[in-house]
Subunit: 312 residues, 3 copies
Amino acid sequence: MTGLLPPAAPAVQVSEEVARALADGRPVVALESTIFTHGLPRPRNLAVALEAERQLRAAGVVPATIGVHAGVPTVGLSTGQITELSAADGLDKVSLRDLPVVAALGRHGGTTVAATAFLAHRAGIRVFSTGGLGGVHFGASESFDESADLTALAATPVTVVSAGVKSILDIRATLERFETYNIPVIGYRTRRYPGFYVTDSGHEINFSVESPEQAAGVIEARDRLGLPQAVLIANPVDPAKQLPPEELDGILARAWAEAERQGVTGNAATPFLLDFIQRDTGGRSLDVNVEVYRGNVRLGGEIATALAGGAS
Amino acid sequence: MTGLLPPAAPAVQVSEEVARALADGRPVVALESTIFTHGLPRPRNLAVALEAERQLRAAGVVPATIGVHAGVPTVGLSTGQITELSAADGLDKVSLRDLPVVAALGRHGGTTVAATAFLAHRAGIRVFSTGGLGGVHFGASESFDESADLTALAATPVTVVSAGVKSILDIRATLERFETYNIPVIGYRTRRYPGFYVTDSGHEINFSVESPEQAAGVIEARDRLGLPQAVLIANPVDPAKQLPPEELDGILARAWAEAERQGVTGNAATPFLLDFIQRDTGGRSLDVNVEVYRGNVRLGGEIATALAGGAS
Amino acid sequence: MTGLLPPAAPAVQVSEEVARALADGRPVVALESTIFTHGLPRPRNLAVALEAERQLRAAGVVPATIGVHAGVPTVGLSTGQITELSAADGLDKVSLRDLPVVAALGRHGGTTVAATAFLAHRAGIRVFSTGGLGGVHFGASESFDESADLTALAATPVTVVSAGVKSILDIRATLERFETYNIPVIGYRTRRYPGFYVTDSGHEINFSVESPEQAAGVIEARDRLGLPQAVLIANPVDPAKQLPPEELDGILARAWAEAERQGVTGNAATPFLLDFIQRDTGGRSLDVNVEVYRGNVRLGGEIATALAGGAS
Ligand SMILES: [Mn+2]
Ligand SMILES: [Mn+2]
Ligand SMILES: [Mn+2]
């Protein structure tokens, strides 16, 4: 101990409401913060973040929005803190490896899937709802660009409800990495891996569950076996609310072509592509994104409720 | 706890015989089940599975055949259960990530190297004999197709006796992954990595041991250091019993050409290629496969005996 | 327990001086041995190894040079043992996976970054100074040649002070792997990743610290969070003492061309290339190498002192 950090400061701050719910065995669902610090435009980002919390409370579930506030990794950000982070400029996007750095430097940050999953598990939360996961980027066989979410999920025994991986990733390669890293991928009422904006990515998966209770059974079995990997619940968007699948390929092709034309590569490519898709669809991609998130928050709440032994 | 699984059910069922042997410090060798659920044709599959058990018992070693029976991961399947699994149709091939799913869904399954190693270690068994390991597939730099055995072996401190990796894999790339993942590869009386059907794959390895006692010394040292990786003992087939090495390249070339001609790719390629090799060799590959397995079962028994402090 | 290894022998031998310093909370810095067993020519290898120890002692820090002596992984080799290992022929280069093998076979060995980091952490040492790290080799997308340092650092919560990765590696790909494996890379007073022989490799990094105390703050935060990854402190060589950057590209190009001309590939390539660089620069690369090491030893001592709560 160096005295550089106050000895009494907890490494992770868990809000009283979340701590009490966990102690009582009541259902809790973790939510990430990059969706409102980096993923969605203002002011919709704040609206979506607060709506997700309301949605969970209405279902009898305690929300635990996770982020870094003034260097403190926080599980259960207050409405004030969410509001502050959603309005802050130049915020760090905090992956797992960045947590000790932003903690030591006292910075704000939005936490990625990797960092959020870690903090949720550290606090004792079993279910985490997000939009889309990170994974293998196109061209990764040369660029080696693979998200830290992959290895974090391989070592963090939570449950992550998503609608697949981010739409601009190499889904086939990402599914291979999930297999190599022993991360189970389970369709919710489907054997087709969802494609975030679309219900079906075109890829098959081996297993599905038909109810929150069945998902909870798999999670319990994972925990009883002592396996360290996350369980991924792949929850497709309602087909009636997806982007028209026949449009998506064209949108992605135009996005990639424009990135190439402008020479956008590496880490800059992801925000560029997502922004292009949003503009190209006249904002419809944003509506689908929000719809996807709503569905995952709902299912996360149902699974957390099943795990807590209650009715879903 | 949800009540979805009976609270009293153990996550892993260890047979009385195996549990007693482990408690007494007597030698036990784990055996996998995909060899008889997916690897060998009927009725030879059952014969080989039961012969391996007899072979171990005759050497004073307790066999622990591992698989999933009606959703219960079982260490020490009974003869009745082995018979049932070897005759069942549509059985799951259960890798490590599939264990919680088949457990929750109550299914039968044959366990791969990854899942068997995990269950063996969980039960306290130190030695596991198999035929060939999974690894990196040809073309993996584009397909990302790498076996979950690699990462499971990187995190499971058992000893695995094999005759190398499955013959259709990219051996060179697989040896690199073993190195990157800190998995020691030790030749049994050889510095040439075996090629499953052939004694010598053409690849060198750095270390060899000359006796079961020396292998046990390495395993003890690994355990005293607290390293989490498996120790791989590479045990070549008797040169007099191998497939003629000058034939193997031609067989593999024909197998790949036929796969390409028929458009067989991805996960379907492995069974297709192995089946082709079997037919192309008029069943001789099967005989070698069985011989390879016998040798590994024998050496596994000798190492387990040395670890138990007895004569081998 | 087999009796094959003396039951009382410790898996790792920690010298009395190091053990006492750790018990007292005084600063200790780990040093690797491949730098004097394989990296530098005689007699300079021994001189550099002993100078690093003197340098630390003069700063009030206890050096812990780590290697394998007669099969015993040793933390805090004596001057006699360092002298013996630096003069021995045919010594093993011991990576993490080789430790149990050389231990069981009773051999001498120089420990790599992977093995040294593991042994340092096992002994309770928090800071390790080295020259350059292993990483992804050029052509690894086909060869799969990636150093075991990568995965070892992903699982060993020490702090490693280096001047980047070995100069012949694919730095861009290695930085991607650090990201994927959740290993934080922090520049010491720079956001430019150092290039070992040169101050700036041309690659950016996200975070920097300005003092040993700030580095210690990050390390404390990592430990409080319970993250298992190493923290990498990237410490560039003084610009006045680097190889002229405009020369380095030409040197490397000539080295690779000569390797190709002579057909040197695989594991043989690294020593060949480093030797070529040394001869091509008339020994100046060696001088820079020693200067780089001195700087890392100094900074490691300062960080260890900060962690111990003292003035740096
Ligand atoms: Mn990336
Ligand atoms: Mn595969
Ligand atoms: Mn290598």
